[in-house]
Symmetry: D2
Subunit: 324 residues, 4 copies
Amino acid sequence: MSDIRKIAVLTSGGDAPGMNSAVRAVVVSAINSGIEIVGVMRGYEGLIDWETQPLGLADVRNINNQGGTILFTSRSERFLQKKYREQAAKNLRDHDVDALVAIGGDGTLRGAIAFQNEGINTICIPGTIDRDVACSEYTLGFDTAANTAMEAIDRIRDSSVSHGRCSVVEVMGRKRGYIALWAGMATSADAIIIPEKWDGDYDSIIDTIKAKHADGRNSYLVVVAEGVTDAPELAQMILDKTGIESRVSVLGYIQRGGQPTAKDRMYGSLMGAYAVDVLKKDKANRMIAIKNDILIDYDIKEAIDIQNNQIDSFQYELSKLLAE
Amino acid sequence: MSDIRKIAVLTSGGDAPGMNSAVRAVVVSAINSGIEIVGVMRGYEGLIDWETQPLGLADVRNINNQGGTILFTSRSERFLQKKYREQAAKNLRDHDVDALVAIGGDGTLRGAIAFQNEGINTICIPGTIDRDVACSEYTLGFDTAANTAMEAIDRIRDSSVSHGRCSVVEVMGRKRGYIALWAGMATSADAIIIPEKWDGDYDSIIDTIKAKHADGRNSYLVVVAEGVTDAPELAQMILDKTGIESRVSVLGYIQRGGQPTAKDRMYGSLMGAYAVDVLKKDKANRMIAIKNDILIDYDIKEAIDIQNNQIDSFQYELSKLLAE
Amino acid sequence: MSDIRKIAVLTSGGDAPGMNSAVRAVVVSAINSGIEIVGVMRGYEGLIDWETQPLGLADVRNINNQGGTILFTSRSERFLQKKYREQAAKNLRDHDVDALVAIGGDGTLRGAIAFQNEGINTICIPGTIDRDVACSEYTLGFDTAANTAMEAIDRIRDSSVSHGRCSVVEVMGRKRGYIALWAGMATSADAIIIPEKWDGDYDSIIDTIKAKHADGRNSYLVVVAEGVTDAPELAQMILDKTGIESRVSVLGYIQRGGQPTAKDRMYGSLMGAYAVDVLKKDKANRMIAIKNDILIDYDIKEAIDIQNNQIDSFQYELSKLLAE
Amino acid sequence: MSDIRKIAVLTSGGDAPGMNSAVRAVVVSAINSGIEIVGVMRGYEGLIDWETQPLGLADVRNINNQGGTILFTSRSERFLQKKYREQAAKNLRDHDVDALVAIGGDGTLRGAIAFQNEGINTICIPGTIDRDVACSEYTLGFDTAANTAMEAIDRIRDSSVSHGRCSVVEVMGRKRGYIALWAGMATSADAIIIPEKWDGDYDSIIDTIKAKHADGRNSYLVVVAEGVTDAPELAQMILDKTGIESRVSVLGYIQRGGQPTAKDRMYGSLMGAYAVDVLKKDKANRMIAIKNDILIDYDIKEAIDIQNNQIDSFQYELSKLLAE
């Protein structure tokens, strides 16, 4: 029998669709196990300022289909300082909270590791659209973001085909190219530029477009992960070297929001319930992750060095093969 | 009984959802009236180069739900010159085409007026997402674009609310503010900046945001039509004067594409069939338009001066009233 | 200067997307005019039982994108009896409510007319997906429902085309065929059966399908408004007389829900604000309606006999013409 | 170096979103490997009648986002008879086809096993929305179908909540409950009935609803896989025993169609390319499958007995836990 009597839950870092399903599963699982639960607002910020609200079943009813996070979120600068982490830990102790569930990305995990030194047991759930938490094959929000980016590119291509243009589309994923890879393959992109594989070989992209142009193709699509290269420069280069009108679209924040897909709702539910299971087994300081599509948990300090989530080489090679 | 034996159809200018329904209706109506029909590729460009294909029922089957235009489109610089219009007119005469149906915006209408001098009977159908053909209350593509912009802003706001930010979203509509007005009202924008009404009064926007902030609101939305003001500058100004983090999103080309809404499919069908009806009545050089939600037709030279499509003042005042 | 100090608002009958925008506009307009506002739950039922809540700006924030109605709804049997209407009127008087805004369909309008005899000033807003309030060209929810039905039929047709089948799809609209007409035209239906025009001529539908089959078509689509004919019987008849496998789909309740379209959010906002304007002008017992796409208001007793919303003959004839 | 010079590809059984991506990947991979490729229409039927077309890159351009299958499909009764399989095998040999790629469900796999006796090398790709090919954790179309069902139920629930009703929604999945399980969990269903777990215990469902009703809940959702129980009878039972109005929705064919999700496009691409890789390695009669989210291949005769795709017990238990 677990000694856990009361837990807190928060969402931190960039918001991601599916966070609400995870929050709901934590709340329902906790309550069904007789554990009291408190929601912390705006991530670690709300922990420092003790901005909280008790959570009951009615508070999480029908939130599965809501984008964003009902607990709000932030990137806390203060939590990087020990004095604020001490304040946050004191707040939790003063309110008899036995453990914290933190849903977010790498920054959230690092925060949890630092927090372990203040004696707070934290369970992390990977939630970030970029799928860039290295230890987990999946992170909440990726599936929704990939579909949103794909649908946006489908739209852009309607116009691109009608006008006989080249579209250069920048998507999110500064550190991991999965959004670009999935959205690009799903929309038959002629080239996909991702941080893991980009070698600066613009010439091969230009040559691909020229070859297709010679074959009679009249519209083209290049998908670029943000931060890897400069999309407007690339478009200009394509125009200069091929004579084909090229236009840039930056998808931006639309990729963060929206009603979550079935996968993000399901995996959010699974991860949230699993986190409570871990606590009930008196495990402490664990990172929930997906490996081989199975739920597992790691020690949070070890998790930071695990690399399950490298870009899939077969998928990447295939993206080049299918860029016919 | 009409003397029309063969007609041509083209799409010109920016592509707009619903153009395909109009093309389909023109083709089916013509064929059912015993009129032969030829499709001209890439707008007036294809007319000059006689890039065409005969159109039958099978060519337009199930195209209602396709974005873009199956006939492709362009903004033809050459058609601005008389010698190319003469070439285009000669092509049509050489192929025994009695009349042309041209689907597009203001530029398309101006082309048709110039073309009248070459002796070619042209019927215009208003198609442009911006709803900026002054003589018609409705132009094909607006409804789809307004919904696309709205759904994108819904997504952006999920993230904006989660982080407690101000979002400044730039939508299309350089000359007419209807996309901004509809998408902004539909998403409860705190301020909407449109070309018809913008007086440069940034202070009132800042004051609105400050007042709401004082009331406890923590996220804000400003929708801006492109070209009216500089979105990044506005976001910086909001940050500087209110201290609220402000982020810019430029929706861009996603607003042009996508599967058309029911309205764009229906009005495309109505306008296409009406254009053939007009031809069958031996009317020449007419602009199809919507007035009081009813199909009418104008002489194309007179149409250019008709102003049915001013921004609706009740709608605009309401947008300010509802920006609670 | 109006004498209105406090008003109540309710939604009644079948729920319709856009009702929330109308509620929001009533609330914001009232508050901005210094009028107190109370929300009545579950339509006329909540009026009888005085199930209410005060409404402030925060209660209607960001509800534009929510389907259904935040005030809940019902079809009240009790309100058909005078004693319950007296009770409801007494409740309103006891709480110093000067006027009622009721959003709904024909039943709601009839309730308001009866309520006028109890001395209660009621303003009606037409809200029903079927677009079957005769005095108004538009009723809230139709645009969303038409798009939902269209998208569902687009999906059904993917499967129908892949298998070479005939799909018979039943949509809502027992008294008015607009959902069937719009969704059917938008999806290139081969036949559309609506209550206003159906003459029982099954043979012409069979003949149409046979003729297309002879021409090499291999999939077919028939859209039927509910209650006009028996969809399974029709499918069986098509199979028996043409040998083509025919399958029935009944779209059902998906047509009522979902995030409202831009039009339903905009027209909900317009009608809600207009209703408060009418009250501020000390007009009583008015029905808000759309005529020639313009907002107008009728006396509620006269409204019941006005027929703006007949099925559009051009649209219907066109649907037959385009069923190529 | 492989001896494969020419292959055929077909889709068979129920159509599933993602089949087109698989076809495209087969075509592009084959052509890029110097292998000629022919498309067979309407599944095994087209093999018997040699209804085919050569496939080039242009034929599969931009088909990733199309629902259904461009090769059409069927459930072939004739292929169950040896004489027709002999005819089909003869056709393939007469046209120098070295191998067949067949995309479909269990029936397709059984057809391929029988076809092995005619000396035809067949590679199978699992494609069916029901995810009911036992040897593979994933089958093309499931993700799209689960999302379509989920979105439809989201809509139904808007209306259900507004009226205070119980909705009983029947989804596809006669043999495997995954669509019901995912769509039900994603929409916070109060009960989910699936073939693997249903024990006929209606009382527990009634008791759950009664308990929630006593707690103040006013709307309920039960998701049922088709064929497991009678949805109208269940709805009547709920009404009879709880007094709560209950309505049935049968989602039907909308679950088959629609633009594929990112996952179905990606996994279709992966499986199609992998099938050609298998052929290039001179492997014969293989079933492509997913195990632990990794692509593998089985001998088709052994595949029929492998059970990777049992219903996930953690997911099912969780669905009961979260039905708060």
